[in-house]
């Protein structure tokens, strides 16, 4: 495909609502990441998948955040009972292999979440 694709691009949620953000990585990419970028900040790591295995979820801020990649391709980041501090851009990224082996990470355009 053309690159990492994310949907929706923009989401406005009422406080307390659940949201689901989708990521389509580049075809064949084994590694997939989610990052959260608050206004005026750099991206912050949330979680990392190698195929369908979630190898690192140390960045998920609370148990309201849940990510899955059941078939090792498309991934969904779910946020339950959204709160105002969840307002941010959520970036998905993928790489062909493990980045620690020198593979370049490619980012999507992001999903802009505003909680009102």
């Amino acid at each position: 495909g053309a690159g990492v694709s994310q949907s929706p691009r923009y989401k406005v949620a009422k406080r307390g609502q659940d949201v689901a953000l989708r990521c389509d990585p580049i075809s064949g990419h084994v590694s997939l990441f989610w990052y959260q970028q608050a206004l005026g900040q750099g991206p912050e790591f949330l979680t990392y998948f190698q195929n369908e295995a979630q190898l690192d979820k140390s960045g998920l801020p609370s148990d309201r955040f849940f990510a899955e990649r059941p078939e090792g391709s498309v991934s969904t980041l779910k946020i339950q009972r959204t709160q105002q501090e969840d307002s941010a851009v959520y970036l998905c990224a993928s790489s062909l292999g493990s980045p620690s082996s020198g593979n370049t990470i490619y980012f999507g355009e992001g999903s802009w979440l505003t909680v009102v």
């Binding site: 590694s31 991206p43 690192d56 620690s100």
Partner: protein
């Protein structure tokens, strides 16, 4: 603690002037350092990594382990260089899976090149 610091939120220079975007890091080990760039209305993309030791679009960056710095430099700025620049590190080391694959980003520096 692992941290990347970019002290300047905004750097404004004139076209043709030299540019240096500062980046300092703290990491107990051997990190891999990167510069990422985000042009207006485009996605975040890799500019260069210290391991490659290459020049991309005229930019270079040297890893100084003594000063724990990875400043980005270009001798003559162009208007098309105007963008948001992020310095980032990963743990390096290369064991399969785990935290070494995540990137830790700085807060970014907005480079504005004036005509």
């Amino acid at each position: 603690a692992q941290r990347v610091t970019q002290p300047e939120k905004l750097l404004s220079v004139f076209k043709g002037a030299p540019v240096e975007l500062k980046c300092n890091y703290s990491y107990s080990g051997s990190p891999e350092l990167f510069w990422y760039v985000q042009y207006s209305r485009q996605r975040l993309q890799l500019l260069l990594r210290h391991i490659s030791r290459e020049s991309i679009k005229g930019f270079t960056a040297d890893l100084n382990k003594g000063e724990t710095s990875f400043h980005l430099k270009k001798p003559f700025a162009q208007e098309e260089d105007s963008a948001m620049y992020y310095c980032a590190l990963s743990g390096g080391g290369g064991f399969y899976g785990g935290a070494t694959n995540k990137l830790i980003f700085g807060t970014g520096t907005l480079l504005a090149v004036q005509p």
